[in-house]
Symmetry: C2
Subunit: 324 residues, 2 copies
């Protein structure tokens, strides 16, 4: 029996799934971050080792020997040719460092290295045609058509882009609150909500929270639900921010559709990321807007997780077929 | 003869001016940054010591003994009560550590500690009534009326605000360039201008420049002239960004006028900061827009530098008069 490994390596965690040649999941493991561009190759390797170990140990409860014939690394920020070399070296280290009864039989052509957006698309839809609209701490829209042509829009990070992301919603909410406090714009309950959530006696102390406590993108993005709840409960300023975020995601999705699909084509669009757990119906607003523009599209929830998508891409190498 | 010291302490340099009781400048010194919230109290103290030393040494060429009777610290980010304690301690250290023939005769009530916006206002206008519109790396609008009531709008820093600043213009330019590259928005020459300026073969490499080279707010803000020049030479996207920046500054200024001045009152508005050196006539756009809304205002260039304003505030303590 052949096996494949699918690895979803991100900025907060790494997931590995072990799948057999028939598409059955035999093991799953989780570990820490593996975006080596931020945390370094050594730390990324450790996370990947741990996630693979956990998945294989689970699989060994069901079978004696595991012969890995294909592997897919779906990693955040990967895309350029130098990345391929780094990931191939990580794979070599991974093979050497494993003390589990794994039989490595992965030919060079059976190593898939791709962006985390592609594995989210394949996992989310269950095949490799469609669009993923990922909106978590950051945001990216990524599509692939039936000819294999891909198109990415966004994904430029928190300074250069990430429109519609939790980070951008949180920042827009804080900016609106301070403009309101200054007397520049209409009043909003976001001021009081932020004060309460952060335990501030004065909204001016937001400066200390944001600039002096060493807060990063994730800590700021985690404030997005405050704006979301305010919008859900009717705050006009919050609703304007949410609508702008939705329209940014609609515009990015429309750009992908126009670039690689026909306007009347049936396309599945899968939404992933924390932003879609919105209380103020961001997903419904998004769906209503995109379906008005492209009546043949269908917005779905993820059918599987990204690491499962990575397995499908590895499996596709193994069976050598177009359809998975 | 009495003397005063005026200190302008900012994030990139510190300026000290020595003035006599008649308002004549006798010395001027410059040193490094002194925003102690970022660089620490020790480093800030060193910069202030050096700037004071240089000003006093210049003054000693003209007079034998210097009796300092009042001092004004105009420091970036200062405003809260705990700041006053820190600055007073800095002053105590300053007095102990000076080996120049200075006679310190500053009573507690003759120490002025204020925000850098106030000294920019007083220096720029030459008295303490009016509005300063500061737009450099960051932005803030600060006004003071003839009753001494002050109003600040903006100044919330690069994440929470700084609308109309060089940082915000640069970021908006890069975002627009990448949206254009994605196919989301109309084309702009900013893409080619950024590539040329930064020596990039592909605009996607902007990610590496911004996130991996350790660039800070100042390095990003230094890209603003690229958008400014593109606007001056007719680029539509760049002009939209510049107009939005101008309107943010007009809105902030209008909020200050409405808060503490009468709509038809004669008010001098002084513009300070690198943004106003714009090639695409940002200052003219700002003036045209604000004068349309408030016909009695007059937009002026700074008459003196902020450290001179600090001296005027110190001098006011000395003479104990309302008018300076």
């Amino acid at each position: 029996m052949s096996y494949v490994l699918g690895i979803d390596g991100g900025g907060s965690k790494t997931v590995c799934i072990l799948m057999n040649g028939s598409g059955k999941v035999l093991g799953r493991g989780e570990a820490g971050a593996s975006n080596y561009q931020s945390i370094g190759v050594e730390a990324a390797l450790t996370s990947i080792q741990c996630a693979v170990n956990a998945a294989v140990i689970e699989g060994l409860k069901l079978t004696d020997t595991i012969k890995i014939e294909a592997i897919c690394f779906g990693l955040a920020g990967v895309g350029r040719s130098q990345d391929n070399e780094v990931v191939k070296n990580i794979f070599e280290e991974l093979k050497i460092s494993q003390f589990l009864p794994i039989h490595w039989a992965v030919s060079l052509s059976n190593i898939v290295i791709c962006n985390d957006a592609l594995i989210a698309l394949v996992g989310g839809i269950g095949n490799d045609v469609g669009i993923v609209v990922a909106a978590g701490t950051g945001s990216i829209v990524f599509g692939r058509n039936s000819q294999g042509v891909t198109k990415r829009v966004g994904g430029w990070g928190y300074i250069l882009g990430d429109e519609g992301s939790a980070y951008k919603i949180a920042v827009a909410g804080m900016q609106a609150a301070l403009k309101s406090y200054d007397g520049r714009e209409m009043s909003t309950r976001i001021i009081e909500d932020l004060k309460q959530h952060l335990g501030l006696s004065n909204i001016e102390d937001l400066i200390e929270v944001i600039y002096q406590r060493g807060w990063g993108v994730k800590e700021i993005a985690a404030l997005a639900p405050i704006i979301d709840v305010a919008a859900a409960e009717g705050d006009e300023v919050a609703n304007k921010i949410i609508n702008e975020a939705v329209e940014e995601l609609v515009q990015a999705t429309s750009t992908v559709i126009n670039a690689i699909f026909s306007p009347r084509e049936f396309i599945e669009i899968v939404t992933t990321g924390s932003v879609w757990q919105s209380k103020c119906k961001m997903r419904e607003r998004f769906t209503a807007s995109i379906v008005t523009k492209f009546p043949a599209v269908k917005v779905i929830l993820p059918r599987h997780e990204p690491a499962y998508g990575a397995c499908l891409l590895a499996l596709k190498k193994l069976v050598g077929e177009k359809e998975i």
